[in-house]
């Protein structure tokens, strides 16, 4: 007993390591076939460096398209998720109404963004519009949930005192719920945009526009040097947006 107590956090770490090793073994990480392929990684790395600077102008343009897809998708999602979150908020509506809209948001969240993009590629054809719609619908599911939880937390006393002055549900939403949650809405919208920039980089894999199309093409033609360039462009944009986003969000969140 004393030995176990002494082990403390080290014991937990050992258990975690053991579980990880067992799982890796289960998925064949230590099989002779896998180990024999390890040199391929070295071949890949050798072929991937140095990055090829030639496609940089094209990649910058397509990365900008990815950012615009994320921006348009997030904007659309905010516009739709605010009313849907209001209809899901128990501060404003009764249980049958909120349950229906919460279920709807849950269904939307179940389907990943790339699958939504694929559905819109089928519906509206290849191109960034499918990306925008895919990103928007997926984000509605997430933002909707985050926002209705914030709306639920609005002080009931404030709602009551305005309700008693004769305000209807829509007025309560416009003058109490949204102003009281404004900082949170902005902060979550910025976070969603940041997330969508990262998520949108792979939308091109299904033909929904952006840099993903080039990433897929470079993999298919084994042009690993251009692939490295594309990944570095993505990294630069994502890091820059992450930094800008966290600075911007800190202005809207309580310190």
């Amino acid at each position: 007993m004393r030995a176990l107590r002494w082990a403390g956090p080290n014991a937990n770490l050992l258990i975690l390591l053991g579980v990880a090793l067992v799982l890796l073994w289960h998925f064949g990480a230590f099989s002779p076939r896998t180990i024999s392929k390890l040199p391929n990684l070295c071949v890949f790395l050798a072929n991937a460096f140095p990055p090829d600077p030639e496609p940089i102008p094209v990649l910058l343009g397509s990365m900008l398209e990815t950012v615009l897809i994320a921006l348009a998708g997030t904007t659309l999602a905010v516009l739709v998720s605010v009313p849907l979150a209001s209809l899901s908020s128990r501060s404003l509506f009764t249980a049958p109404v909120t349950s229906f809209f919460r279920f709807l948001l849950s269904v939307i969240r179940t389907i990943p963004a790339i699958l939504w993009a694929l559905l819109f590629v089928i519906t509206v054809g290849f191109g960034p519009l499918a990306g925008v719609l895919g990103t928007a619908v997926y984000s509605i599911g997430y933002l909707g949930k985050l926002l209705y939880e914030a709306f639920d937390a609005v002080d009931r006393d404030v709602l009551d005192s305005v309700r008693i002055s004769g305000a209807g549900k829509l007025a309560l939403m416009r003058y109490v719920v949204i102003p009281e949650s404004a900082n949170y809405i902005i902060s979550q919208a910025i976070f969603m945009f940041e997330y969508n920039v990262r998520a949108s980089t792979i939308l091109g894999l299904v033909g929904a526009g952006g840099i993903g199309f080039y990433i897929l093409s470079y993999v298919q033609v084994l042009d690993y040097r251009s692939l490295t360039t594309a990944l570095l462009v993505v990294l630069a944009f994502v890091v820059a947006i992450d930094v800008a986003s966290s600075r911007l969000r800190s202005k809207f969140l309580p310190s």
Partner: protein
């Protein structure tokens, strides 16, 4: 004009009544001070009077109509946390009192008639908030926030203001200022029901006093006839 509570009983949990057979009138044009220990049921009483809670038995009536917490523009409710919207300006908060008189469309697009805007500005001016109309409520002091809540009640055209622990979070000087304001507004026909723990405010600011103890009205009389000792004896 009055809110009449008749034989009102209320319990949040079955078998544990907060108020039992309470009968009380809250009149316009006078200040009723409601006292009682913490948990005595003062807030519940005000919420019942505002129609925000429904009594399990008895009735709450204003001018012959059951109070139901909606569209009862003659009644304003100021909760303990003041109940103003921190991210709106002073004028916008005051204008919330005019929402009840607008159509659904006007409520949503925020189209307030000039008369309502001018009424809101007048109310802010009257309450010493004239220089703050465009300031966000979150930037105000506690006393100023209380004034905003009163301004909204004035714009609403309320005849009775139900104010929960109205001055409990203010410093003594500010609370005296706010209470003097309520006394002045009484002359305009506006009535107040103010819950408080402070017995000493009763003779100076109350027209009537009611003490709640064990869920019942232990004392209800004119404030001028109630000494501090008498109030304390039933507290």
């Amino acid at each position: 004009m009055r809110i009449s509570l008749r034989d009102v009983s209320f319990a949040y949990r079955p078998g544990r009544p907060v108020l039992s057979s309470v009968s009380l009138d809250i009149e316009s044009g006078e200040v009723l001070m409601v006292l009682g220990r913490s948990g005595a049921g003062k807030t519940t009483l005000l919420k019942l009077a505002a129609g925000l809670l429904k009594p399990q038995s008895g009735s709450v009536v204003y001018e012959g109509l059951q109070v139901d917490g909606r569209r009862s523009r003659a009644i304003a409710y100021v909760p303990q946390a003041i109940g103003i919207v921190e991210n709106l300006t002073v004028l916008e908060n005051a204008l919330l009192g005019a929402l009840g008189g607008l159509s659904l469309f006007s409520q949503v697009v925020g189209s307030f008639p000039r008369e309502a805007v001018s009424r809101a500005k007048d109310a802010c001016e009257l309450l010493g908030l004239g220089d703050y109309v465009n300031v966000k409520a979150k930037e105000l002091s506690g006393g100023q926030k209380q004034r905003v809540a009163i301004a909204r009640a004035l714009v609403q055209g309320a005849k009775i203001v139900l104010a929960d622990e109205f001055v409990s979070q203010l410093d003594p000087l500010t609370s005296l200022e706010v209470l003097e304001l309520t006394r002045d507004l009484r002359t305009q026909g506006i009535g107040f029901a103010i819950t408080t723990h402070d017995v000493h405010l009763v003779p100076k600011f109350g027209d009537k006093v009611a003490v709640i103890r064990d869920g019942r009205i232990a004392l209800h009389k004119d404030a001028s006839n109630a000494s501090v000792e008498e109030v304390l004896s039933v507290f």
